[in-house]
């Protein structure tokens, strides 16, 4: 394509006429680097590799500035498809976290399914067995103007997740759902996948040492390449406009869990063969950016070049142009780099033992080229060289300095009179779509497959699995972010998301071992959106740094994987800043973990964490008073760390039999949920005066300041109090578990809440199913 010698308008016209997203200056820099006009396939390769999605061109500098990705337990930071931290001397946990927001808004079912499909490939290709997933979801207002469309998206996304995830055979053990009108035109569908691998059996997503010198084979495995997802990364890097929907549709990938299930088993056979024979391979999934992204990154990260023949790649049809073959995002594909002597056996595993051609029409494993030493990225198609560029230049990407400007919004605390009947108010909060039981959704998810599940959704703040038979250790997983806090303060939204995700795993007795962040924001070319992004990253990094990896003083909990999703914006506006955090917790013996439901009448109940006047963005303000407010919960880092450690230690010492963290809906919702989660028959009687605060009763009950409620094992009160004091925490013994299904809360001599739990259970259970009907 001609670029040299043309003016900007002509270059622009040329780029758009073939559907390229590159800017004129980006195209000129390509031509300059090549010293000639680039070919169309070359430009598409750059378009792909320099997209926001692949190159992090807007976000990289900020991420590097703030995030701590290293730590004593880190085996692999964010440089490859997934991050890895050590569980013990032998086993490691692998984690990846991504968004699939744009496609899910257009094709909810396939979009959400592809999200799971991509993330499990990222984990599997490290040589790991994928053992759990989690799904943080954000939908629009189910009772607002766009309610029918919002519900159509929500239903389609949940269907896509179960239809894909269940068939794949990976349990969904955690997730969250928030409804908020800022997501009316831009839903968020994030996915987290977790795997386990032995430290010595990790497979790298790069060409192995010697691959260039010895001419290793490059093999593509899986679905035949078609045009689906062509332009996908560019699509994910632009705002959604309705008139573009038809064009964007072409960018959607079509997932196939059945083929994926078979591919995983074939991969397992391949990995076993390479382990048995001591052969080092490179293995990577083909995700965003397709063939070009996988092949160029695998070569460049090892300092090698690639010589690839697109004619050899198996395709769904023979009339695809070379740039489509190279850049389409056809799902269910992997790339393998191996020594030629392994090739026949690798091909047999896929094409004969696992019979890919009969499992999916046209699927197979094909040798497509060789690794070279010359640093060139060469592709050929129908006998001509379609691309011959520096692999390093292609993969290095570009950086943008984006402008930031604080978003000025007018916030104030409302003047509100305390409602007369707090029981009724609490019932309303419990029935809100954002607080009510998540059962309507998680019953669609196979939370049990693989047989490793110890704690399921609905039983505690985090899910827990025992992923390796014969071992006692457990992996806990939780996800969190509150968009309402993000609207008020992006910084505290980032910090509280980290703190809450850690509290969630601590509440079952696991220690937070690593975090991932999936950062969902509007258009970064707008200075306010970019400021929100930077504030969130700063907040979450500060929290991770200040909350320390347990057992290591002054050492951040490492963030080993993550993803940035910009352009979650439509002409109606951007999504509320949503730094979605996942936390992996580890516990030595899964049998020591505790759940949240009340255990026994007579047990004492303790509050951890003083109540503050922090109701900004709270469920109470929004649902009951229709206001947002200003005083968002903040993280008091030292207090937070002491609370988290105290809870972990008290569970490890078997002083606590039930624990639940305080979040949406405040202390009131937390107490009610502990009673509602278990078998009927138990209740609570709590004295709010023991919280040692002069806040009014409604603020005490609904403040979302961080904390926990703990049910103490009978007879262990003194030991628990000693332990809490050791961490400098106030002793706030609020009351007892009772043997009648009622929740009482007393304040200054009055009973301010008296709730029949069987009636409350109906409202709490129906809240979400009504919103999704």
């Amino acid at each position: 394509m001609r670029i040299i010698g043309l003016n900007d308008r002509e270059v622009e016209a040329g780029l758009r006429s073939v559907g390229l997203g590159l800017t004129v200056s980006e195209a000129r820099s390509v031509a300059e680097a090549l010293g000639r006009d680039p070919t169309v396939p070359e430009l598409f390769n750059y378009d792909t590799m320099w997209s926001e999605h692949c190159s992090y061109k807007s976000s990289r500098a900020t991420l590097n500035e703030f995030l701590h990705t290293e730590g004593p337990n880190v085996v692999q930071g964010p440089e490859e498809d997934a991050g890895i931290v050590a569980i013990d001397d032998e086993w490691c946990v692998v984690i990846a976290h991504e968004s699939h927001n744009h496609p899910s808004q257009i094709l909810p079912n396939e979009g959400a399914a592809t999200g799971i499909g991509g993330i499990v490939r990222d984990v599997n290709c490290m040589g790991a067995k994928v053992v759990a997933t989690a799904d943080p979801l954000r939908f629009g207002d189910p009772y607002g103007e766009d309610k029918n469309h919002v519900r159509w998206v929500a239903e389609g996304v949940v269907d896509g997740i179960w239809q894909y995830g269940n068939a794949l055979g990976v349990p969904i053990i955690a997730g969250d759902v928030v409804f908020d009108d800022s997501f009316d035109s831009n839903c968020l569908v994030n996915v987290v996948a977790v795997g386990v691998v032995k430290r010595g059996e990790i497979i790298k997503s790069r060409a192995p040492a010697g691959a260039g010198e010895k001419g290793y084979d490059v093999i593509v495995v899986g679905k035949p390449t078609d045009s689906s997802g062509f332009g996908g990364v560019t699509f994910a890097s632009e705002e959604l406009r309705e008139e573009d929907e038809e064009a964007n549709r072409g960018a959607i990938q079509i997932p196939d869990p059945f083929l994926k299930n078979v591919l995983f088993k074939a991969n397992e056979a391949l990995f076993k063969l390479t382990r048995d024979e001591g052969i080092v391979i490179g293995f990577k999934d083909l995700g965003g950016g397709g063939f070009t992204c996988a092949s160029s990154e695998m070569g460049a990260s090892a300092g090698y070049g690639m010589d690839l023949d697109l004619d050899l790649l198996h395709k769904a049809s023979e009339d695809l142009p070379p740039e489509v073959v190279a850049c389409a995002e056809t799902q269910e594909r992997f790339m393998l780099i191996c020594p030629p002597e392994l090739t026949p056996r690798a091909l047999k595993i896929y094409n004969e033992d696992w019979d890919l051609p009969n499992v999916y029409e046209g699927a197979r494993a094909s040798v497509v080229g060789k690794v070279t030493t010359d640093g060139r990225y060469i592709t050929r198609y129908r006998g001509i060289v379609t691309c011959d560029i520096s692999i390093e230049h292609l993969t290095r990407g570009i950086r943008y300095e984006r402008e930031e400007r604080p978003r000025v919004i007018d916030l104030e605390e409302p003047e509100i009179a305390a409602p007369e009947d707090l029981s009724e108010v609490l019932l309303k909060v419990l029935a809100s779509p954002n607080v009510s039981s998540r059962e309507h959704i998680y019953r669609y998810y196979d939370t049990e497959v693989q047989g490793n599940t110890v704690i399921r959704p609905g039983e505690a703040d985090a899910g827990l699995i025992a992923p390796v038979r014969g071992e006692k250790f457990g992996i806990a997983l939780s996800v969190d972010a509150n968009p309402f806090y993000g609207r008020i303060s992006p910084y505290w939204a980032g910090a509280t998301a980290v703190a809450e995700a850690m509290r969630n795993v601590a509440a079952i007795g696991a220690y937070p071992a690593t975090l991932t962040d999936c950062l969902n924001f509007g258009n970064p070319e707008k200075p306010e959106a970019f400021w929100e992004f930077r504030e969130c990253v700063r907040g979450l990094a500060d929290a991770a740094k200040a909350l320390w990896l347990k057992g290591y003083e002054d050492t951040p909990v490492p963030i080993v994987s993550g993803n940035v999703s910009f352009y979650n914006e439509s002409p109606d506006g951007a999504v509320d800043p949503s730094p979605i955090i996942a936390c992996v917790g580890l516990i030595d013996d899964v049998r020591d973990a505790v759940t949240m439901e009340l255990k026994k009448a007579g047990d004492s109940v303790y509050l951890i964490g003083p109540r503050f006047d922090e109701l900004g963005g709270s469920e109470y303000y929004r649902t009951v008073h229709g206001v947002t407010g200003k005083n968002v919960p903040i993280v008091r880092f030292e207090l937070e760390r002491n609370m988290i450690y105290a809870v972990i230690d008290s569970i490890a010492e078997k002083l606590v039999v039930a624990a639940h963290d305080i979040s949406n809906g405040g202390l009131g919702a937390t107490a009610a949920e502990m009673a509602l989660a278990g078998r009927a028959g138990l209740g609570l009687e709590l004295d709010l005066d023991a919280a040692g605060s002069d806040l009014s009763a409604d603020r005490l009950i609904f403040s979302e300041s961080s904390g926990f409620l703990l049910e103490c094992r009978e007879g262990a009160e003194e030991e628990l109090e000693t332990l809490l004091k050791g961490y400098g925490l106030d002793i706030m013994k609020l009351g007892n578990v009772t043997s009648s299904p009622e929740l009482f809360m007393n304040h200054k001599g009055n009973t301010v809440v008296r709730m029949d739990l069987s009636a409350a259970k109906k409202a709490w259970t129906a809240g979400l199913s009504e919103a999704m009907r």
């Binding site: 068939a167 047989g451 599940t453």
Partner: protein, 266 residues
């Protein structure tokens, strides 16, 4: 005593099923669907585990039931060897006519329909723990060999198509009379309530599992392999944290039954 856990493309419970079978004292291996079918004869019993063979395309179990490995299994069944189909395995056994084993395809496992007070309250996939009541005397069937009539066994289920229906109006009577209804969904106290959530998928007469007339072939929708260890239980079960990591859960009795059946019958 060696069992084959049959693995179709799309099966996803083979590993935990083999682990559960081993915990009951059976030896075994995973048997890929396209291995030479004659190699099946060397096994003493067979388990078709859960999953989504061929992604439930057309109907759950319909495509897998046409695979040659099913013809080989039919021959082994005729020799009296035990076959247990779990979830998708049950669906495959009904589609291939091995269950209820009256000569043709005599039932269907249709899409779940959750009915409460006469209204459809939910449909589609459902995952939850359930209690099964054993409806047949001990030794009636390979997979309930050591269970007595009235015994309660809790285990999770997870499926979209487990609603047993039949167009043959005489069939239910026959299944009842011949003691071919092995498990029914019930509440924790053993009461067989006809509506959701106890009847979790709308199945005729709360049927969760049936056997063939000879008793060697059993199919059930819930997953005993997910209930074979105490730590797998829900937290409201007092046995959950008792004992070490190998302490048994109630589902193991299905595999122990199979083992006992093989011991007695061969």
């Amino acid at each position: 005593m060696k069992v084959a856990v049959i693995q179709f493309p799309g099966t996803n419970c083979e590993h935990e099923t083999l682990v559960a079978a081993r915990s009951a004292g059976l030896a075994g291996e995973i048997f890929r669907w396209n291995r030479p079918a004659e190699e099946l004869t060397e096994f003493d019993g067979y388990i078709i585990p859960g999953g989504f063979s061929y992604q439930d395309r057309l109907r759950a179990g319909a495509i897998a039931s046409k695979e040659p490995v099913m013809d080989a299994l039919r021959e082994e069944a005729e020799r009296g060897k035990p076959i247990i189909g779990i979830c998708n395995g049950f669906q495959i056994l009904t589609e291939s006519g091995l269950l209820p084993g009256l000569g043709g395809v005599d039932v269907a496992l249709a899409s779940n329909v959750m009915v409460s007070k006469g209204e459809i309250v939910r449909r589609g996939f459902y995952c939850a723990w359930t209690t099964l009541r054993c409806e047949t005397p001990a030794r009636r069937c390979s997979g309930s060999f050591i269970l007595d009539k009235g015994d309660l066994v809790s285990m999770p289920l997870a499926h979209a198509e487990g609603n047993l229906v039949t167009a043959d109006e005489d069939l239910m009577e026959r299944l009842n009379e011949e003691d071919q209804i092995v498990f029914r969904y019930c509440d924790e106290g053993g009461n067989v309530e006809r509506e959701f959530p106890v009847n979790v998928n709308g199945s005729r007469e709360n049927i969760a599992g049936i056997c063939n007339p000879e008793g060697n072939v059993l199919g059930l929708m819930p997953h005993p392999e997910r209930s074979s260890f105490a730590w797998q239980l829900p937290p409201t079960d007092s046995a959950k944290s008792a004992g070490d990591m190998t302490a048994p859960g109630p589902g193991r009795r299905i595999f122990e039954s199979m083992k006992r059946y093989i011991e007695v019958m061969r």
